[in-house]
Amino acid sequence: MNILVFVKRVPDTESRIRINPQTRSIVEEGINFIISPFDEYAVEEALRLKEAKGGSVTVVTVGPDEATATLKKGLAMGADEAVLIKDDLKETYDGLRVARIIAAFVAKKHPGADLLLFGKQSVGADNSQVPSMAAELLGWPQANVVTKLEIEGGQGVARREIEGATERVAFSLPAVVSAQKGLNEPRYETLKGIMAAKRKVIPVVTLAELGLTNDDVAPQVDVVAMELPAARKAGAIIPGLPEEAAKKLVELLRQDAKVI
């Protein structure tokens, strides 16, 4: 199986976000960037499929040179190859733009791919758009938010999470699958893997090479403002023994806050 895993460089979930109001974007100085956590499940699943069925795993990212660190993580986990699709535009929050780049990359460079794996969303833009959009642009089926995946003879069955239930989605390959927490337990990089990843030459593909014009990749999302949420104020600590405090709390929730 020829598997492509698409990963993204995002701010660590422990990061405090600061905003530059002029550029309407986050301040990157001082932020530690990581591979988006859901992408780790996607890389792990690709490696397990390869171990079971043979083939190759290529990790791919769309981003600036700095995103190479994210690819190295995938290589250190055990991916065979990595590719940087170079895109110097800062976060546009436009999933269609990225999906167009990915679909063009797959069509041009990996037309024989069997499976595209993604995280269910990037922890940041939180769009949950790119997997479905790439699937549509390629004309492939999709299974998103997947916690179990079985592939056999050109067919796949995925367990997908919905509200209070799961769905079994059956599909034919090639297909797009996005990973949810619970799909597997991602492995740690080994020292050997880290050393190999360091030495690995990562090819760079440009948007022009993929035949994409400026019009194709012009963002359709116009960010008018970016703001921090209104700060919450610390409220009242309710004193007293547990029974008294509980009674007072219920009273406050009913009469003051009116939420129950």
Binding site: T13, I17, F38, L96, S128, E163, A165, V169, A234, L253
Partner: protein, 325 residues
């Protein structure tokens, strides 16, 4: 026109779709537009007439045997044809798991971007302006979409229902054309979770547990507490989930679910930044923690410093009394 996709499960319309319909109606009124709802299925013989009271001026029933089970491909093909025909200014879809699966597929077919998981929709200078959380709510973007139609998904539990009792509208049946070989993946089975368990994204009240719950069996206390409150669900912090105390579908936070209930009660949750991001848009927050310095108290409207194993049973009794009245 604003077109609203109505999600049905077992023939029932999802509440979040009606919330989305309501918001479409309010914004359409400002823009001088009509609102049409669309329901897709193999044959949509009956639907809730309440849909007119909830904001629809017209209802389109899209029918094809291939729409009997949900498939992103089949639904996107059917909706795409309707959108091309009706030329709405915008298409609104509730940001449920189905909505988040379908909207981007439909949008890519239309060649347009999506405003995902919006928590506010306004009309400014005669155009729609969407506000949506990013970084799980650590920041909010206000965005405009440049292409037409505009496709937006609206977060469940945020927008109020619209109500005009007794309203009526027109029904239009449409056969959807879906080529035989076009749908290469579909839902073949829906497996229900624990009986009557509500998802945290749809709950009005969330009772959530963290490391302070100490052991997996103690989550029973939270399940009992949730059972004493209408439309309540059990949530959890990442550390509780990663300790294997409760399933990840309960996780609230940046690598779990972002929630906006009316009431969020955090028990034994210290308040790591990635957890706070996921629940800070709750209307009212209650924290119960034995550590008075826990960061969760900085965002809580009401706090109790104490032993959650004493507070939870007392709270359950008081709530039962309150709801019995």
């Amino acid at each position: 026109m604003i077109l609203v996709f109505i999600e049905t499960r077992e023939g029932k319309v999802k509440k979040s779709s009606l919330e989305t319909l309501g918001e479409a109606k309010r914004r359409a009124a400002e823009l001088g537009l009509r609102v049409a709802a669309v329901i897709a299925g193999a044959s949509v013989d009956c639907f809730d007439p309440d849909i007119y009271a909830r904001g629809a001026d017209a209802v389109f029933l899209l029918e094809n045997p291939a729409l009997a089970q949900y498939s992103a491909q089949g639904f996107a093909i059917a909706l795409h044809a309707l959108v091309v025909d009706l030329k709405p200014a915008a298409v609104f879809i509730a940001a449920t798991e189905m909505g988040k699966d379908l909207a981007p597929r439909l949008a890519a077919r239309l060649g347009v971007a999506v405003a995902s998981d919006c928590t506010k929709v306004e009309v400014k200078d005669g155009r729609l302006l969407y506000t949506r959380p990013v970084y799980a709510g650590k920041a909010y973007l206000s965005i405009r979409l440049k292409a037409t139609p505009q496709v937006a998904t609206l977060r469940p539990n945020v927008f109020p229902l619209f109500s005009v009792p007794g309203a009526a509208g027109e029904v239009v049946k449409r056969a959807a054309a879906i080529p035989d070989d076009a749908v290469k993946g579909r839902v073949v089975e829906v497996v229900k979770g624990a009986a009557e368990e509500l998802d945290v994204t749809e709950a009005a009240v969330i009772v959530s547990g963290g490391r302070g719950m100490k052991a997996p069996e103690n989550f029973v206390l939270l399940k009992e507490l949730a059972a004493a409150i209408p439309r309540a669900a059990v949530g959890a912090s990442r550390s509780a989930v990663d300790s294997g105390w409760i399933g990840h579908e309960h996780q609230v936070g940046q690598t779990g679910k972002t929630v906006s209930p009316s009431l969020y009660m955090a028990f034994g949750i210290s308040g790591a930044i990635q957890h706070l991001a996921g629940m800070s848009s709750s209307k009212v927050i209650v924290a119960v923690n034995k550590d008075p310095e826990a960061p969760i108290f900085k965002v809580a409207d009401y706090g109790i410093v104490g032993d959650l194993f004493q507070v939870i049973p007392a709270l359950k009794d008081e709530l039962k009394k309150a709801f019995a009245e």
